[in-house]
């Protein structure tokens, strides 16, 4: 190669390198701002409007960067500046100034905050009265341990209404089937007939639906233990569920141990011969009235009192019908001893993403 040829080759290589460089973006991140104005109607008479600012309302922003919570000012305004660009969902919630059984809730999803524009949203909060029994806490991951111990699972119900509710004939289901090819997944209404598919476990309280033998007082918690024993004897970091209110007992299982001092929910599927356990990080839990006794064709949505879907990642595809739960809760890590619990006892806006939070410890029977 001649000297000129060598120089030419070097120049071409350098030029090619620069042409291959990625271009520096013009738009910068962290310049977005959002103003949320929250208002609510506190009138008790439907003909008289009393729209007031939702002062001190809790404003929750969720995005790929996690959850951040702000408190609205006296005018119901929340101004957040220098937000990173992302797709946000906002939920605003405020208690009724007089009646603690009423919450005002509003949410808006898919707000795409791009590089720099300011976004303003006015949200009118709708009252949701705590109408009855709800799933208040789901503890699935097991305690901190290294022997794969997760048998201390429990589901906590809560009577958020001002009336006595009854457990007679209620069903508690784990919905994790419906995964065959061509199916949409657990809890999906495949046939469009108002029933969700994929019931894998279904346990039922004793009594007849509509009966009045097993009351739950207003503001009372009800703990349903997978195994109502003192799990601390197996793993010291676990919990004592020997005094749970109810126990899931599979009468078709040869190995499920029954605590005789704790009343049982019994298995309705004779083909399921193992004890009631739910997935540690991803599942669907449904509480239904028991009016739909033919679970084989699905559970009728109009009989469902509450349903919660949970997953470990925000990017997972939701499968439960949105009439039961409009989103899903984020589950804690396996074997972490953490739990999924409603932010406020019994507050159910049918949107588990906002209603539930991860707590560092589980709190059976209390909040």
């Amino acid at each position: 190669m001649t000297r000129q040829g060598f120089i030419r080759t070097v120049c071409i290589l350098l030029l090619a390198l620069f042409l291959a460089c990625d271009e520096k973006p013009v738009a910068v991140d962290g310049r977005s701002s959002i103003t949320v104005v929250a208002k609510m109607d506190t009138s008790s008479d439907a003909t008289v409007q009393s729209i007031v600012p939702a002062r001190n309302a809790q404003v929750i922003f969720t995005s790929e960067y996690g959850v951040r919570t702000h408190i609205a000012d006296a005018l119901g305004r929340t101004i957040v500046t220098n937000m990173p660009a992302s797709v946000y969902a906002i939920s605003v919630r405020a208690p009724h100034p007089i009646d603690p059984a009423i919450f005002f809730v509003a949410s808006k999803e898919n707000i795409d905050l791009v590089a720099s524009p300011a976004v303003a949203e006015t949200l009118f909060l709708q009252p949701i009265s705590a109408s009855g029994l709800v799933i208040n806490e789901i503890y699935t991951p097991g305690p901190v341990n290294n022997i794969f111990y997760f048998y201390d699972q429990f589901i906590e119900l809560y009577n958020a209404s001002n009336d006595v509710k009854y457990l007679d004939g209620l069903q508690v289901s784990r919905v994790s089937g419906n995964n065959e090819a061509g199916q949409h997944g657990p809890g999906y209404d495949e046939r469009g007939d108002g029933q969700i598919q994929g019931v894998t476990y279904i346990f039922q309280f004793p009594g007849r639906p509509g009966g009045h033998q097993y009351p739950v007082q207003p503001r009372q918690f009800v703990v349903l233990a997978a195994s109502a024993i003192d799990h601390r004897r197996m793993v010291s970091t676990s919990i004592d569920l020997s005094r749970a209110d109810w126990e899931f007992y599979n009468q078709y299982s040869a190995t499920d141990v029954d605590n005789p001092s704790v009343p049982n929910l019994l298995n309705q599927r004779s083909d399921r011969t193992v004890e009631f356990l739910i997935n540690l990080v991803s599942d669907v839990i449904v509480v239904s009235s028991g009016a739909d006794s033919v679970w084989q064709d699905g559970l009728r949505i109009d009989t469902i009192l509450d349903a919660v879907e949970y997953h470990s990642s925000v990017t997972v595809r939701k499968t439960l019908d949105s009439r039961c739960d409009r989103s899903f809760a984020l589950s804690p890590p396996r074997y972490s001893g953490q739990s999924m619990r409603r932010r406020s006892p019994g507050m159910d806006s049918n949107n588990s993403r906002f209603d539930f939070e991860i707590t560092t410890v589980c709190t059976p029977g209390k909040h």
């Binding site: 290589l13 520096k24 973006p25 991140d29 962290g30 996690g66 990173p84 660009a85 590089a115 396996r334």
Partner: protein, 473 residues
């Protein structure tokens, strides 16, 4: 090479102290140019020899940045073989193995958290990192025309790191560097040399529960504040850097006792943070770009036969930016510049004893715009230092070299801290056991104190090495 390397270079150029002497030996803290021009091998190496020996390095103290280790111990065994092949050129090979303990590393899962890009995979625990691995290098220089040599170099490094807590992050850093150079040298000693290097680093971080039981959770930070969260039993992330570096050097005798030397360096690299998507595909979460340019001009004057005076001025600037690739948004940008000068003198006191004195002064400015964090910082500070050294022969046998120096920096970009005062010293002894067997031992120490936001902090770095040089015919 990114900001750390660039600044290392400047500090080295201006103070004469090599950060490599106390570095963690990671590739991105190496000086620039990363390697000596391999074409120079032909002119510089004059005897075949083998060199081997261990080195121990330690760093401790509370003057450190958030993700720096609380303390560090490094053990290295290295060897070098040089063969003069006459008309067939000159060959040099290096091989070394490093074992390193980094204690109390907060959160960071990367081997080197401060590379200048805005991406940091992290967990939530304090843990110790054990890092070990080999490095091999081959260089060859050959005179293809009279006084005109070409050279080639290839370097391969594989470091394996493991964090002992929570995520048990397993980090594999693979570094392949390759390139070549040319050098034209006249009989009078004037020369012109050019080198081009390709740098290719890949750091793969795998976080996995050590009992296949728990989930691990990794926060992939974009900037200082915001992170996306991933959780699974196994999580992977890949950090890949490709770069090119060119270095130009000339030496010209203006007169019999005046020489001018010039060095120029240009560096460019692109860094990508990649997540696996499927078995074969990776998607790019972010990208950072680094460019730096540095130059140095030195004027040397011989005063009589015993004194050599030297004056130099140096300057350089580095630019970097980082983006979130999916949205094409710039979220970090910084630039740094360092300009300064130095003078030094070497005086031959006697046939066996030489004295040297070096004084440096310079100015460092940095401008950091962390858009996503809404944090903007500008710094402008001076640095100055003095070093003195003596080299002598003891009892006509052992060669002894001693050096001590002090330095002040308004702020220490490499290690954190303001109003930093540093004291450094080193000692080197070489003793010929036989005419062809030379025993060498050395010590280097650097202690410094500086202001952190909450306190006055200190830091000590020490390295001690022993080697045997076997001369061959």
């Amino acid at each position: 090479m990114k900001r750390a390397t660039f600044i290392s270079l400047l500090l080295f150029a201006l103070t004469g102290s090599s950060p490599a002497q106390e570095s963690t030996r990671n590739s991105l803290l190496r000086m620039t140019p990363v390697y000596q021009n391999p074409a120079c091998l032909f002119f510089d190496e004059v005897s075949s020899h083998t060199l081997l020996g261990p080195t121990i390095r330690t760093i401790d103290g509370d003057m450190r940045r958030l993700y720096d280790p609380g303390s560090l111990e490094e053990y290295e065994f290295s060897s070098q073989v040089v063969r003069i092949l006459g008309s067939k050129g000159t060959f040099r090979a290096n091989a070394s193995y490093v074992y390193e303990n980094r204690n109390e590393v907060w959160s960071s899962l990367r081997m080197n958290a401060y590379e200048g890009d805005g991406f940091l995979p992290a967990d939530t625990t304090l843990g110790n990192f054990r890092i070990s691995g080999p490095e091999v290098r081959f260089e060859y220089g050959y005179e293809i025309l009279p006084r005109f040599a070409v050279g080639f170099i290839v370097n391969y490094r594989l470091m394996d790191g493991l964090k002992d807590a929570f995520t048990n992050a397993h980090t594999i850093l693979r570094s392949v560097d390759y390139g070549g150079g040319v050098k034209l040298q006249t009989e009078g000693g004037d020369c012109l040399a050019l080198m081009i290097l390709g740098l290719d680093d890949q750091e793969r971080i795998e976080s996995k529960s050590n009992d296949d039981l728990r989930d691990v959770e990794v926060f992939s930070y974009r900037g200082d504040t915001y992170a996306t969260r991933r959780r699974s039993m196994t999580l992977e992330e890949m950090l890949r850097t490709k770069g090119i570096e060119t270095a130009l050097e000339f030496r010209y005798h203006l007169a019999s006792d005046w020489t001018i030397i010039g060095n120029g360096k240009f560096f460019f690299s692109g860094f990508r943070s990649l997540f696996p998507s499927g078995y074969l595909v990776e998607y790019e979460d972010g990208y950072s770009q680094f460019r730096s340019i540095a130059g140095e001009v030195i004027l040397t004057h011989k005063v009589g036969t015993d004194l050599v005076l030297r004056g130099g001025c140096t300057g350089g600037s580095a630019l970097s930016w980082s983006r979130i690739s999916s949205r094409q948004l710039l979220f970090w940008e910084w630039d740094a510049a360092d300009y300064g000068g130095y003078i030094d003198g070497k005086y031959r006191l006697s046939e066996k004893t030489h004295l040297s004195l070096l004084a440096t002064i310079g100015n460092i400015t940095t401008d950091s715009s962390k858009y996503i964090d809404n944090r903007f910082t500008t710094t402008d500070g001076i640095r100055y230092g003095v070093r003195a050294g003596i080299s002598t022969k003891v009892m006509d046998v052992a060669q002894v070299e001693l050096m001590a120096g002090i330095q002040h920096l308004d702020f220490d970009v490499m290690r954190g801290g303001k109003n930093v005062n540093a004291l450094e010293w080193n000692a080197l002894v070489s003793y010929p056991l036989t005419p062809k067997l030379l025993l060498m031992g050395g010590y280097y120490g650097d202690t410094r104190r500086g202001d952190l936001p909450s306190k006055r902090a200190s830091r000590g770095a020490h390295s001690i090495g022993l080697s045997i040089k076997i001369l061959q015919d």
